[in-house]
């Protein structure tokens, strides 16, 4: 229970500095935010795009396996596109982010903790949460919607490749079906999920990094714990949000 309270306090302080830092003449460093945007966000694009493309292909194949029996190949376009925009795109982006960036954040902050760099910051009266956590939270939250949209489009592209190449569907016909299948709600709920995932992944990773005890071994343990708890948090949040959108939106 203590860990949950510590985690929530960390999230609260990180958000506090983002919101009120500028008024206390201690803004979060924009240079650090841009560095993290590049390191964590931009460099994840190839991996997210590749994995989503494969997933799009697989999803199209698996749905065609069932739907072609009913002569309903058109629904492959519907299903793949809607599934990606509502669910799989943001989820895949978050999973890649947790395994690629969450682990990197934990390892970096954990090493700093083990080398007493975080203690040095505190003694210099520099709040480590403002200096280290807030920029990462902001960077990941800013980039995540874009990553989710990239995953949405590359995944849908995977469906299109299978639809046109293997099912013999006309390209324009497929694209028309895909665009018609989407409503604004699908896109917005997907982006909403993406933002929540971003907050979860970045803060869980920072929390585990800042909580490292005991040298290199501790950093390794924290990195594993960070990825595992991020994945659990992402999927639990997914269940809750999907249920909420299903009932209320």
């Amino acid at each position: 229970m203590n860990a949950v309270a510590d985690y929530l306090s960390l999230v609260g302080r990180a958000i506090f500095w983002l919101a009120f830092g500028p008024f206390r003449r201690k803004p979060v460093r924009s240079a650090a935010v841009f560095t993290q945007l590049t390191l964590l966000g931009i460099r994840s694009i190839p991996m997210i795009a590749l994995l989503s493309f494969f997933m799009g292909l697989v999803l199209a194949m698996q749905s065609a396996y069932q739907l072609s029996k009913l002569g309903a190949n058109d629904y492959v376009a519907f299903l793949t596109t809607v599934a990606f925009f509502r669910e799989i795109g943001p989820l895949f982006a978050a999973i890649v982010l947790a395994s690629r960036c969450g682990s990197a954040i934990t390892a970096e902050l954990g090493t700093m903790k083990a080398a007493e760099e975080i203690e040095a910051l505190e003694v210099m009266a520099i709040d480590p949460v403002r200096y280290l956590v807030s920029p990462r939270l902001l960077a990941v939250t800013l980039i995540m919607p874009s990553l989710a949209i990239i995953a949405d489009f590359t995944g849908s592209f995977g469906g299109w490749v299978f639809g046109t190449a293997s099912l013999g569907m006309d390209s324009t016909h497929y694209i028309n079906l895909a665009v018609d299948s989407l409503v604004q709600k699908d896109i917005l709920t997907g982006l909403c999920k993406a933002i929540i995932y971003a907050v979860l992944v970045s803060t869980i990773a920072c929390y585990h990094g800042m909580a490292v005890t005991g040298g290199a071994e501790g950093v390794g343990r924290a990195t594993t714990a960070s990825v595992v708890s991020s994945l659990i948090a992402i999927l639990s949040a997914d269940v809750v949000m999907t249920a909420a959108f299903y009932v209320f939106v």
Binding site: R25, E108, M112, A115, E116, E117, E119, A120, L121, E122, V123, M124, A125, I126, D127
Partner: protein, 266 residues
Amino acid sequence: MTTAAETLRVQNLVKSFGGRRVLDDISFSVRRGEILVIMGGSGCGKSTLLRHLIGVLKPDSGEIWIEGEETTRMKNDSLARVRRKFGMLFQSGGLLNSMTVGENVALPIKEHSRVDDNIASLMVKMKLELVGLTGFENLRPAEISGGMKKRVGLARAIALDPTILFSDEPTSGLDPVMTAVVDTLTLDLVHKLGMTAVVVTHDMTSAFRIASKMIMLFQGKIIAQGTPDEIRASDNPVLKQFVDGQADGPIPLRLSKGDYLKHLIG
């Protein structure tokens, strides 16, 4: 309370780790412009004492007054305000490895004062000049030696001309010339800028060169305190053994004596 001339006062400080008393009823005070040297063998509690002074550890009981403010029960915000008066030199330098030497020294300047980048870089050059590291701004901590890291740490500690300078083993790992440079620098900062310094060391040459007041810690207790002359003249056997650096004496070496064979065989 600290009186007007007292910068730092420690009263009845007690700290235990796992049932072992690491600090046992420690009391002392340092006046403005004094250099206090805390001596003691490895594991006697001197680094723990320093970590209490800078607010990283909280004592089980006792008080620490810095410039008239009690710090052991302070919240983060107030502690940060008091810490702005500090400079702290960590034993291993405490540098941020992801930044260059120049950026490390510039860090407190950029965080706590609103100066132009050009002025900040000028200040960085001045501080690095003081510790004999001109021209090293663009190297990273991993690319310089341990002694150099320590000097960068010192440059960073004095970047904002603090009221109190805490140094943890400032001269260990330095060659004799650099030791003298660091000692002279500490003396200059105190005498010319009116800083107060608290230095933890077991380098006796350096300790007697800079100290205006010394305390000796042994098994968590202060066993002697006074001016360097009083310490030299003391006939306390523990103190004498430590100051003279003798192998035989009351300080336990944790070596097995007569039962060595028995100890080896188990």
